[in-house]
Every structure is written in C-alpha cells, then in structure tokens.
Amino acid sequence: MTDSDSSLPASFDIRDYLRTDLFPHFMCVGCGHGIALRCLLTAVHELGISKDELAVVSGIGCSGRIAAYIDANTLHVTHGRPLTFASGLKLARPDLTVVVVTGDGDCLSIGGNHLIHACRRNLDITCLMLNNEVYGMTGGQVSPTTDEGRYTTTTPLGNHEPSFDACSIATAAGASLVGREITFQAPALKNLIVEAISHPGFGFVEVISDCTEIYGRRNDLGSSTEMILSQKSGMRPESYGGALDQPFRPGNWQTGVLSRSDREEYAAAYRRRTRSARPEEQT
C-alpha cells in the first residue's frame, strides 16, 4: 500500500497524470479527444483526487482508448458496457471516484439501454460521452449523433436518420446532473467536469469533440483548426428550455449545466432501504 496522498502532485503538470511511456497517443491529428483528456485530468487535479482513488472505465472505440493513457486504475471493457462495469465497481467500492469515458456509438447505440438505466439509478458516477458524431475506430460509419445529410461510409448518399440529443435522453432518464460543453471551451469543459464529479449522483457530460481525419475530411469540414473553431459558432449557451420537447438535436448546442436535481443517490437509497437488514445497524 502506498500513501494515497503521495500521488497528488503539488504543482500541476499533466504528465504527472499520464502514462507518458505510451505517448504520443494513438489518436489522429487534431482529434478532439485529447483535449477532453486534458480537461478530465485537470479537473481531477483541481479536485485533489489522488490517482489511486480514481478509476476510469471506458468502452470500445476511439473514446475507449483514452483510459489507457491515464495513470490511474483503468478498465477498458467491452463495447457499450462501461457503465455496467462502473456500476458494479462503484457499488463495491464507494470510496473510489469512478469516471466513465465513452463515445456516441458506445454510449447511445450499443450501450443505450445501459445509459438510460444508469441515469435512472443515479449512482455517484461521472459519465463523459465524447461525441464526435461518427464511428471513427471502425473507419467512419454513421452513428446515432451524426447530423442529417452528413456523409459516412455507411451513408454514402448522406445520412437520412435524425440524430439523438444525448443530454435530453440523460435528463429524461433521470440523471441528476446533465451538461454539455465543446472542446474549444476547454477551461469551461474542465469546470463542467469538476461540477459533475463533485455532484453526488449520476453526472452526464456530453463533450462535443471532433473527428478530423475521418468525419471531417469526408464532409469537407476543414482543417483541425477550422473544425474546432466552428464548434464555437454552433454553441448556444442558453438555458435548457424547450430541449426536452425536441428529443432530436436541434442543430445547435446548448452548453453548460443543462439540468440538475438533488435526487437521492443510488447507494444512499439502497443503504437507507436495507438499513433494517444490516447487522451493524440492528439494535
């Protein structure tokens, strides 16, 4: 056993939180996921969470590879299932800070059922969904968040399906903190992650990220810089009004904390309900 505080550096250098021998990371040129990784680790540092107390669970896809780069307890699990592993881990080990890193396909498509039930249970887990609107790892197929009309390898004539608004789903399913931020607003994203991790309950954060090499090229969205700058023009820092009436993404991104409730956290509710059965609490 090591002193849990020993892993918390006094002055912040992100490399103290990285498995630097795995760098450079495997993500493409200009991929927004690296920015999200920085924001997550900066938030962890700011909250004073030691690396030993941090567990990062990720699924499959480009987002899933993030976990391996973090010098913490990392679990890279099967496609769509990180929320299930994280639920078991958090219930078994309430002392850990459990963060799930997932993607739009991982979280909303193959893992959609797990997402809505994780939101409903409201375990004290933070779920970071990196939304790049495409299946990047498998070569650029359409995803549940691909905008209508976009070209992917499986929508060669343009996407004819409407896209999901992940935050509306999470709110409707009962996540007690839901927010969205663009990677371009990195410090704001960091602050949102700080808020989600601090929040006692299920925190869902949608990160608007960029797939530059696969999605960007095919749709002629410009250079890495142009893509990240264009996030800004798609952002609408407004309140959440009306979004629930419109389950599909309204074409612009409302950012910041979009909904919040003080619903009882799952483990607390479980302990309260089962108190009479517990040996140490029987008198």
Binding site: S87, L89, K90, A277, P279
Partner: protein, 385 residues
C-alpha cells in the same frame, strides 16, 4: 465469516436457495442479475440475504449489464456472482470472454432449461453444456461445474468461488432446472469441508509492477484499485504489462500462459465420482440430474449381474480426460445419457482410446431421463456383447 445460514442444522432447501446460501457462505458479497425462469429464486434469495451480510444486490437492465456489473465489483475486490438461464447465458458470453481475457474472478450460475431460444422456460434440460465450453468467441480457459444434488449445489458454490478466486477465471455452475427446483434436506455444516480461498493479491514494488507477470502456477497476482499499483485492464490481447499488444512473440507467450493455467492446476480443478468402476463392461458417463438416474440404473444393473459402472464428472469442464480414458479403455461400451440432442458425447467420442462404440441416450422433450431407460440401454448393450 459472516453467514446467516443456520450452520449445523438440517434444513430442507430448494436447489436455488442452496445456491444462494452457498454463495454467501463462500464470501460472495455482490450480486447483479436479471430475472429469468428458472433461476429467479437465486436473485430473490440474494436480494433478501446480501444486505444482512453488508453485501449489495442490484437488479440490472439485462444480462449483459449483470455480468458487466459483477466484473466491475470483482475488479473492486469483492467476490461477485450472477445467475441466469440459457437465453441470458447467451447474452453473458461477451462478458465471460472479457472475464477470461482480463482474468477477473466471478461465478455465473446457469440454470439450464429447454432450448433453443425461449424454448421451454420451466422444463429441465442439459442443453447448455457446449455453450458453457464454446459459447464465447476465441480460445479461453473454461471451468464449469455440474452438481447433482441440493447439497452438492451448496458445496460446489464454495468450490466455484475458490476456483474462481485462486485461478482468476470465471467459473460457470451448470444446474439443470430439475436440481434447481428440487428440495432436499441437507446438513449445511457437513457441507462446509472446503476452506475458503481468496485471490492472490499483488505485493511488492509499485514501480515496474506487471499485472500479468508469469508465475509458477500461471495465475498472476491481482491488484485492487486503491492499493497503489494503478494498472490497466483491457479485453484487448495484452502483454504482461496489461497494455494491448500484437507482437506475435508476446501474444504467443501470454496466450499460452492464459490457456495453460488450468493444466497447471488440474489437481484442484478436476472433480468426479466413480461408482462400480473396477471391472466395467458398460461405462455410463452422466452428470447433473441425469447422473442420479444413472446411479440407480448402475446399482440395478449390478444387482442383475451386469458389469456397469458410473463416471460422474462434477467438474464438467475441463473434462476428467485421463480417468475417462483409463475407464473407457477397459470397458466395451460407453453409454452417455444426456438431456440434450448429444453434446458431451461428442467430447467422449473424441477421447475414446479405441474406436469402441460410444452410445448416446438423449432426451429433448423436457422430461428427465429415467433410471429404467438407462437400465434398459445397459441391458441392451450387454446383450450385444
């Protein structure tokens, strides 16, 4: 050890209840599952009993989530299990593969019912034997246990957790619906011969720690979040350091270690029972509820002067090959009664040392094979000699 089971008392228990009691006695403190006939009593029992021992029960949204949750809990250092039946077991194959690859201890109960698909939810079957062996993709170490009585369900739950913990691998307990819903009077205290085992815990320097380093018994020591090792776990093929690799030499080395760990520990894994096997003409091989019929048939056959014997594998996978070969080499015929269209018999045909006849006796109508059916078959085989 915390347990609410009334040790030392004779109790009349249903197989599924004994399963839950055995799990808690084995130290299981986390259960995640999804309701499915005929396994649901296990979940109900765990939901009521786990809070009493400071454990956690959670009903998940499906079987995929259930196995995910128990793997997460096990990574957290807590002995964990789930229970299901055929359709749910199919969904769990993905998680089972992950548990094998990442070497996460866990116990999965499959209460077998008639299949395929939704099949006959309330009728007994032994149709998941090959799914337990080959259900998940790729090559992986597989342990499956097949108890044949309520008392043995309790005992085998202890063994299942012990094997799972010491070998860092998922252990499947195949219970047929007949055993699951059978009530028998058992003595729990006399059913507790096995000392409880826990996983080997990583010690030593944090720097340079290799979570999948080779060891003498082929089982790497396991780290636990919070103990300072901060290792990485993945379903990707990984080197000793836990990180993905496609280097052929490394992959060959770690895969051989993964697949070899059962061979290295066969003494504690292998478990079978023999009856009247000293001089055998007809060797009956049977497991689960069918073995009880086979036992009665063999006893009856001996009473009639027929040289029949019974090999009852309790650990079904890996199959007790050596003992089977020995017995089969002296027998004229091998009779394999199964409540499926013929699954374990394929393995026996492969293992048989001589091209002697392996005779199948199958039933797929949702009814148990009776002693009389087996006895008739033994008599018929003797008549052919």
């Amino acid at each position: 050890m915390a347990s609410d089971s009334s040790s030392g008392e004779r109790q009349n228990l249903q197989g599924n209840v004994a399963c839950a009691l055995g799990a808690i006695a084995a130290g299981c403190r986390f259960y995640a599952g999804y309701p499915i006939t005929p396994s649901s009593e296990i979940a109900e029992q765990m939901a009521a009993r786990l809070p009493k021992v400071d454990g956690v029960f959670v009903q998940m949204e499906d079987e995929i989530a259930s196995i995910g949750a128990i793997l997460g809990a096990s990574v957290g250092g807590v002995k964990s299990m789930t229970a299901t039946s055929g359709p749910g077991f199919s969904l769990m194959q993905e998680g089972l593969g992950y548990a094998s690859q990442a070497e996460i201890p866990c116990v999965i109960i499959d209460v077998m019912r008639g299949g395929p698909s939704t099949g006959m939810p309330t009728r007994p079957s032994q149709g998941d034997v090959m799914q337990a062996r080959w259900g998940s993709h790729g090559d992986r170490p597989v342990i499956a246990l097949a108890p044949a009585s309520v008392g043995e369900v309790f005992e085998q739950m202890l063994r299942a957790f012990n094997l799972s913990e010491t070998l860092r691998t998922p252990v499947v307990v195949l219970i047929d619906e007949a055993i699951a819903h059978l009530s028998e009077t058992i003595d729990l205290s006399s059913s507790m011969p096995t000392p409880l085992a826990s996983r080997k815990v990583a010690t030593g320097d944090v720097a340079g720690f290799l979570p999948y380093a080779a060891t003498d018994d082929g089982v790497p020591a396991m780290q636990c979040p919070g103990d300072g090792y901060r290792s990485h776990m993945t379903g990707l093929t990984h080197g000793e350091d836990g990180f993905p690799t496609q280097d052929p030499a490394t992959v060959e080395r770690v895969m051989r270690q993964l697949l070899g760990k059962l061979d290295r520990n066969m003494e504690q894994i292998e478990c079978f029972e023999t009856l009247e096997c000293d001089d055998v003409d007809v060797l009956v091989v049977a497991y689960g509820i069918t073995a009880r019929a086979a036992r009665r048939a063999v006893v009856s056959a001996r009473e009639r002067g027929l040289r029949a014997g019974l090999l009852r594998p309790i650990t079904l996978w890996p199959f007790p090959e050596r003992r089977f070969r020995e017995l089969a080499s002296s027998a004229n015929t091998v009779l394999i009664p199964e409540m499926n269209a013929g699954q374990l018999c394929v393995e026996l045909e492969r293992l048989c040392p001589h091209p002697g006849p392996v005779v199948r006796l199958n039933r797929i109508d949702g009814e148990c094979i009776s002693p009389r059916q087996i006895l008739e078959q033994i008599e018929k085989l003797h008549a052919h000699d």
